[in-house]
Subunit: 257 residues, 2 copies
């Protein structure tokens, strides 16, 4: 008999968020689930790790097939602690999310959800990050559950290319309006940030970050295009940041002392 | 008469660190310097931004040619605040560092120093991150100053490819032992993490992250090779994480509802 897959689940919204509760449900249909997820919201933490402070783990649930542990650190801390401290063997699959809010295009860099998946890929674990385009705490994850079920099934059947994880974004529409699934590239876009100044009770100024996402990429093979057209976008994500095509031109800077 | 370049300087070790003091000195030889840097150490913060908390700015110095502002946020927060709140126009150059410690290979993902440079590239600003392979607070930056001077000169003369920044790592050897400068690719390597368990005064366990960097990449065109051979490594870094080569194989997952 084939051994049940060992599935590690994490997120960046915190272990009590609706998105991870739904993902744990779906994951438990496929294998034994271990959850190591932040004890507090960690959105926007990117690939941060905790090196100047201590880390805590706290078991919060242990029922047959599902063990849940909360962690004081970032999403990437959670993955590292899970692999090197909590689990007896490397997981067969890492699932991150389902994030409350979009992580398409360059947002992959800011996203704790996706950085957890990237960390999984760096560890050689097939890893998938899921995000629903709805920030609200009470987001409806019913369509997302179906999408996660399909993609997890694909991943367990076909595998995921080595050194790669998947960035799955799901349009915020009812399931019957989903047009399908598209493999995409990350759209070339940017943020036009704005900082709202406010005064604290003592009159000192502080700021809140806000911003506008600006997509100038007209390609129909991008994640932004897919999502605008009610498709689920799936971007294969890798972590070699080298701009290989720029190396030849820059070699004129090479210098021998 | 040509206008003096406007140079934004930041780092992740904090505005008082020796590395950034040396970088400010060198930068001021080339143009008008604006410093927006963290008010506390932010190593390992990667591309984190502060969205669940407020941000503060505090001017700490304003002399002709050098204005310094400390920021309560991450290195990427510093860059965003500098561009969208502090500076009157986009800077001509962004310099980050000089980091106390290495940022080669996959460490580019964890590094606040390099994430600040990547954020600069996302904003279309020629950006360079500098790191010295010496973690100590009292590191000797004299060779690094020469390296920074050379690379900044190159960048202002030739420019930096669009959507790209540079990851410059400097071996921890005296200047006369530096063998030169090499344009490189990011080595394929990984971390084998370890978490040291300790007990707090009440007997509860906590952890400190530690780990071993493992390079399995034998290429002589990598940053790790260059540094091991006393060359300064320069990796052009971009932020499209799409694994383009994996798209064709995955398109069998495409699905029309």
């Amino acid at each position: 008999m084939k051994k049940k897959p060992l599935i590690l689940v994490t997120n960046d919204d915190g272990i009590t968020a609706g998105g991870i509760r739904n993902l744990i449900d779906v994951a438990s249909e496929f294998g034994d689930v271990w959850v190591v997820a932040p004890d507090s919201p960690q959105s926007g933490m990117g690939h941060a790790i905790t090196i100047h402070n201590i880390l805590r783990l706290q078991e919060v649930k242990d029922v047959p097939g599902i063990t849940e542990i909360s962690c004081s650190g970032t999403p990437v801390d959670c993955v590292k602690l899970a692999i090197y401290r909590v689990l007896k063997r490397k997981p067969d699959l890492l699932l991150s999310g389902i994030n409350h809010g979009a992580n398409y295009s360059i947002n992959v860099l800011y996203s704790g959800t996706m950085s957890a998946a990237v960390e999984g890929a760096m560890e050689g674990i097939p890893s998938i990050g899921f995000s629903l385009l709805d920030h609200s705490l009470n987001a409806d994850f019913s369509a997302s559950r179906e999408v996660a079920r399909r993609i997890i099934g694909n991943a367990l059947t076909d595998g995921i290319p080595k050194h790669t994880c998947l960035n799955v974004n799901i349009p915020n529409v009812p399931e019957n309006e989903l047009k399908g699934v598209r493999i995409c590239r990350q759209a070339r876009a940017s943020w036009e940030d704005d900082f709202q100044p406010r005064k604290d009770p003592s009159g000192k100024i502080y700021y809140w970050i806000t911003g506008k996402f600006v997509n100038r990429d007209q390609g129909e093979d991008t994640d932004v295009w897919a999502l605008e057209n009610n498709y689920v976008s799936v971007v294969p994500v890798q972590y070699d940041l080298t701009s290989h095509r720029d190396i030849p031109a820059l070699t004129k800077w090479n210098y021998e002392a």
